[in-house]
Symmetry: C2
Subunit: 336 residues, 2 copies
């Protein structure tokens, strides 16, 4: 009798221990994607296994737009730029005749934000660069962060109406937590402007500024009496996209990552470089397949095109997350 | 009697507790420099004091040449370049007529390494850039690190004969340990090449590659079958000196440091920016005053010139370390 009681007690303790270890990825449905992520983390943190990765080498890199939060119908950083430009327009009457500002502002007056966005995209890379120049130049990075955070607190999606800040992917926040809990250091490697992504990353993802890599504009030193500050200049210095991503990672971190998450062909070089390391690596592509809860797009999309990457992922055995199939919940719960 | 015994016991315990907390800067002589460093760390880590700095903001930046190790008669990275060039020279007979290689190699043949060094310095910035181009280009950063580490293991000082690796400053290694023990994150911000300083920093200072900022050359992606690697190119992309230092810190770390150590006018902008923060900051200049144990140089030196910096330090109340007066020991103990 005493033995049976003891057995029962042991069983209870074992059960309690199991239920005390909750699923670290509750928004992920069981399937190959979830299993690939969990198994990689387990294998590479098992000090006795042959796939063990020492803590100092546990570098994870994650794209932002389309990987950590939504990116349709246009990168949210670009929506910020348009909103800022329209907000700034009053004190710059010269823009009434300067392009691309004149066209964008005229579009904003007649068709609101969606029309202004379309006019900017119509102008291509040059128009975007010119908008970025006037919305950044003259601000310190701290002043810029204040502006961007203020905007992020209220800006809403042009089609859906939710706060953009709430369009981060809950399954990916769980991945970030899982990585941190296992000694991996997640870095964001974004094509977006570094100061914009930094303004977002700390509050939204718990990722501090020193773990954010992005596209960069110029900076210059400004001296006022004894006070020295850095001020943003209009030039675009570095575009953190394509081959630029592994280059920026090497220059900033100085180690090849062992985990890479992306969602577009702009992330392909980063994933290829990660998977070319000598040890184990995990490469994941988020495939936007969910036209109901999010958007469905890949090979033909002007924003976040995923074409070569899909082929490479198949060939190399990377994990392709099927958003409609793999994610039980898509977005974070909205703040009240 | 029992009370006196108890008192004695308490006194013994107190004494043991005190002696169990050894001086964290034993190579520093008591004086204003040592006190300034210790007091700053104590004040800013006291959660109840009004100078408290939260752990995430405890960023320290330190120059390398002349601040963490010696830099006379020429930056050791430059000595590496010369040694590499002479070592590489065999397979490149075209250099017999190409400048600056021809002059440097001829000087090396007639007067050895000191003559080659002088010939390179004579050629100025252009000559140095051309030497750097051929000693870096075509290597991956990992291959470069292997070369640099191999050289660092044995290369000796042209005048003193010690291993260059042993010409790091013991008092500064103690400062690095003190900072880390108090939650500060030391970053090296060097004018030297980032890959060279990274090859040195981990073994010598315990500073990992992601905490090293330096001058950078180009990188390009190379694809061989499915393997992607980054390869160094001949171009110099960024010189991490003067105003470049605060700019690179902002771009890499995204926070203004609270502690800065330097030794030359090339560090001045970094110190000015650090001391312009809204909270407490510690700015320290290492003044090379010890012609007996190290070198004595400042305003007139072509290497590590400290001129404007000395004036600014006096005016702004920065800490100026008088090496001869403040340091009890200068160099780390040599490895056997």
């Amino acid at each position: 009798m005493q033995t049976r009681l003891l057995t029962l007690l042991v069983a209870c303790i074992a059960l309690a221990a199991c239920s005390a270890r909750p699923d670290p990825l509750p928004s992920w449905r069981d399937g190959p994607s979830k299993r690939a992520i969990l198994e990689f983390v387990e294998r590479t943190t098992d000090a006795k296994g042959d796939a063990f990765i020492p803590p100092e080498e546990r570098i994870a890199v994650l794209d932002n737009d389309g990987t950590l939060w939504a990116e349709q119908p246009a990168y949210f950083h670009l929506i910020y730029e348009i909103d800022r430009l329209v907000g700034l327009a009053e004190p710059a009457p010269a823009w009434a005749s300067d392009e691309p500002y004149a066209s964008i502002l005229a579009a904003a007056r007649s068709g609101g934000r969606p029309a202004a966005l379309a006019a900017t995209l119509n102008g291509g890379r040059d128009a975007i660069a010119k908008v970025v120049a006037v919305t950044h130049a003259g601000l310190t990075p701290d002043e810029f962060a204040v502006e961007a955070k203020r905007w992020l607190a209220t800006a809403r999606h042009p089609e859906r109406g939710e706060r953009l800040f709430d369009l981060a992917y809950r399954p990916m926040l769980e991945v970030l937590d899982l990585l941190r809990a296992n000694g991996f250091r997640p870095h964001i490697v974004s094509g977006g402007g570094i100061d914009f992504v930094r303004a977002l990353a700390d509050d939204r993802y718990g990722i501090p500024p020193e773990r954010v890599i992005g596209s960069t504009g110029g900076l210059r030193l400004e001296r006022q009496g004894d006070l020295v500050s850095l001020v943003k200049t209009p030039e675009i210095v570095f575009i953190d996209d394509g081959d630029g991503k592994p280059i920026a990672i090497e220059r900033t971190i100085g180690r090849r990552p062992v985990i890479a998450f992306g969602n577009s062909d702009g992330d392909l070089a980063m994933l290829e470089w990660t998977s070319s390391g000598s040890g184990p690596s995990l490469c994941v592509l988020i495939h936007h397949t969910d036209a109901v809860r999010e958007w469905a797009y890949d090979r033909g999309s002007p924003v976040g095109r995923l074409d070569l990457g899909l082929d490479e992922a198949g060939r190399r055995g990377w994990t392709v997350v099927d958003m409609a199939r793999d994610w039980d919940t898509v977005f974070v719960p909205a703040a009240r």
